[in-house]
Subunit: 220 residues, 2 copies
Amino acid sequence: MHIKSPSPNGSLLKIAVEELTKQGCSVTVSDLYAMQFEPRATRNDIVGHLHNSEAFNYGVETWEAYKRGCLSKDLVEEQKKVREADLLIFQFPLFWFNMPAILKGWMDRVLVQGFAYDFSKIYDGGLLQDKLSLFSFTTGVSQEIYSKEGIGGDIRYVLWPMQHGIMHFCGVKVLEPHICYAPENVSEEKRKEMLAAWTQRLKTLWKEEPINCSPEWYFK
Amino acid sequence: MHIKSPSPNGSLLKIAVEELTKQGCSVTVSDLYAMQFEPRATRNDIVGHLHNSEAFNYGVETWEAYKRGCLSKDLVEEQKKVREADLLIFQFPLFWFNMPAILKGWMDRVLVQGFAYDFSKIYDGGLLQDKLSLFSFTTGVSQEIYSKEGIGGDIRYVLWPMQHGIMHFCGVKVLEPHICYAPENVSEEKRKEMLAAWTQRLKTLWKEEPINCSPEWYFK
């Protein structure tokens, strides 16, 4: 029998589930690939008739559908999970300076107007103000690449659209990101250290203060 | 009979096709929604056996499959279009400070190692050095929001992962982005001006110099 080796992200996910469960937290996992989560924002996200079928506008239609209770089932389920959560941890491998498309699709489709934000209810006034978020990801290349002087630039530059443009926009507070650099290219010992560091951080996670999610944090 | 109104992005696309065709260019369009393009990076992108089925690594597997000519048909077709192109124009509505998931999926799946970059063949040494790119997008909110002082920050901050992290990484040169701010919220007259400005720009596009795609362009 072959046992498949868990990917670094699989291991990090497993650690978070185990450690937080041990703390008494109720942990819900959305394993997007296993769920075959649909990343494409289309008309299918609205059950039944459209608000304006002459000129389809995804933002308007999902907002109207949210109010009518007519969003597709997969979105309703994800929104329920978000509504019940105190903390959202996003675990993923960095693909092209950003999250993989399947996770971007989760953001595009789940965080609809009316649910995550509304007219003037954005940023500190966003509708998900009672929540924390944490971006935990792995990179393909080493930390030196991601520095102000490195060709990849400061890693914080890639966090701006995710942390500020999505989470902060919805009012969600942002904890320091957790970054494992190039886990596929380091020794087994170093990889174990990375996993141990994540376990260690999770132990005191609830005592952490959110970052000040303003341009200064990212670009100064 | 009802005629559906074209979306702003649909209109911008149509203008580019018409104007560039008029110039004698051969224009190929990948309309990702119409193609129902798959954004999810999975094992299905590799036809036949895996290089290492014990520990699936998408980057390694697609690189190996590219070398063996075993990438899935949709990827081979998109790579052919890229290979034959002098200029790649990406037309999309900005979703959450980034491209929509379906387009991110195109980046994740099409630009594989061996095709778009290789070991030390990255950035100015990337494999797609003979090409130009242009990000043309619409926003939901006005230009004032996207300034250094605005809550959205400088619009260039969101361009870093796309232009530098993807295009520049592959060696593709980057033309100035083309941004239409909040076309859904302006008058019909203003919208017509936006479309006319795009037509106008396209007339002299081939005379433009690429931007200097370094941190200074984005963050200074």
